[in-house]
């Protein structure tokens, strides 16, 4: 979607709406009405509200996405333990059922709201909005939104967050970015997790995982870490500190998928 005005007209599809474009024609006396709105318009609209809400409270919102079991909650636990005194953290947890992950986070002294999606395989902007009503964001530096474990649908829904962090655990296979391109293209940071297992795995090549990410035209940083090895978290924690500082400096932040959108729009 165009980030300038929220419309979905880009140079790629502008020909459709221009005079003599194919949508100009009507057939058989029936009226053809041009619409050209994004099918996710309603979600995007709500996401905009969420983003404003985060802005008012000065909160940096990070969307964590990965397969189930790649260590999102474990990473959050380790992160809270490592940096919780320095930065104030809150968490929104997404799962189909159970309060388990929110309980795990609360045990580390951090406020957490659990969203149970029932049958839904992803969080959307409306669910996150409802969860925000249960959280006091005053004084919070980072809100982590732990999406439902799924490498497909979560990538398609803007939640109003600022950054996408995508986890890939080393037990999964280094070609995951090639298999799930929409998800990994959306990553602003890719974390290769469970690195303590690399010693016993002979089939995961971290350089290959990064190469597959580049083949999605994604310049995102790639960090290798293990939630079980606190010393391996240093680069991730620094990355978080930098992101918070950047956010505090007032720079507008947005997931970087289609960063060229506004530029294309003005050229078009």
């Amino acid at each position: 979607m165009c980030e300038t005005c929220g419309c979905t007209i880009t140079p790629a599809n502008a020909h459709l709406v221009k005079a003599d474009g194919k949508l100009e024609h009507t057939s058989d006396g029936k009226a053809s009405i041009e619409v050209l709105t994004g099918l996710l318009h309603e979600n995007d609209h709500q996401a905009g509200h969420n983003r404003e809400h985060f802005h008012r409270h000065g909160v940096l919102a990070i969307n964590l996405m990965s397969s189930p079991g790649s260590g999102k909650t474990a990473l959050l636990e380790a992160t809270i333990d490592a940096i919780g005194d320095e930065l104030s953290i809150a968490v929104v947890e997404g799962d189909l059922e159970t309060e388990n992950d929110a309980d795990r986070i609360r045990a580390h002294g951090v406020p957490a709201v659990q969203i149970t999606t029932g049958q839904a395989c992803h969080l959307d902007a409306h669910m996150v909005h409802d969860a925000l009503h249960e959280l006091d964001l005053d004084g919070i530096d980072i809100l982590f939104i732990e999406n439902v474990g799924n490498l497909v649908c979560p990538a398609s829904f803007d939640l109003g967050h600022h950054i996408n962090v995508t986890l890939l655990s080393v037990t999964e296979g280094d070609d995951k970015p090639a298999k799930y391109p929409v998800m990994f293209r959306a990553a602003d940071l890719m974390l290769l997790t469970k690195s303590d297992l690399l010693d016993v795995l002979d089939d995961f090549d971290t350089a290959k995982a990064e190469r597959h990410l580049r083949e999605l035209a994604n310049p995102a940083d790639v960090l290798t870490l293990s939630a079980r090895r606190p010393d391996s978290l240093a680069a991730w924690l620094d990355w978080l500190r930098r992101a918070v500082a950047e956010h505090r400096s007032g720079r507008e932040m947005h997931p970087s998928v289609q960063p060229d959108g506004p530029a294309l729009h003005t050229q078009g």
Binding site: T10, K30, A155, P181, V182, E215, A217
Partner: protein, 104 residues
């Protein structure tokens, strides 16, 4: 369907006969699955008898090095001319309701 109903209502449509969508390769939506879901979604609405036409958009990248545009597979977004991965995606992310055809 909310958008279709709205367009139909705004234009005093008796019925919707055709709904046209543009779905790009990187949109995260599979046209055949969407078409099947549409069969259920249209039931009991003003678009009950509407046809769904899905235009599948290609994925096109523009190279930041050599400037060439090329159509590429969804999981290999690199310039087909010079092999560069620093490219911008110019087509492929669309998930658009293009038009609605109605009878009044």
């Amino acid at each position: 369907m909310t958008q279709v109903r709205k367009v139909a209502a705004e234009n005093d449509a008796k019925s919707v006969t055709l709904i046209r969508l543009l779905v790009g390769g990187l949109s995260g939506v599979e046209p055949p699955l969407l078409a099947r879901a549409f069969e259920i979604a249209r039931a009991g609405t003003v678009a009950e008898n509407a046809e769904l036409e899905i235009e599948e958009g290609p994925v096109v990248v523009k190279c930041k090095e050599c400037g060439a545009s090329s159509a590429v597979p969804v999981n290999r977004l690199i310039c087909q001319y010079c092999g560069e991965w620093r490219v911008s995606v110019t087509e492929g992310e669309e998930l658009l309701l293009l038009s609605v055809e109605i009878e009044t």
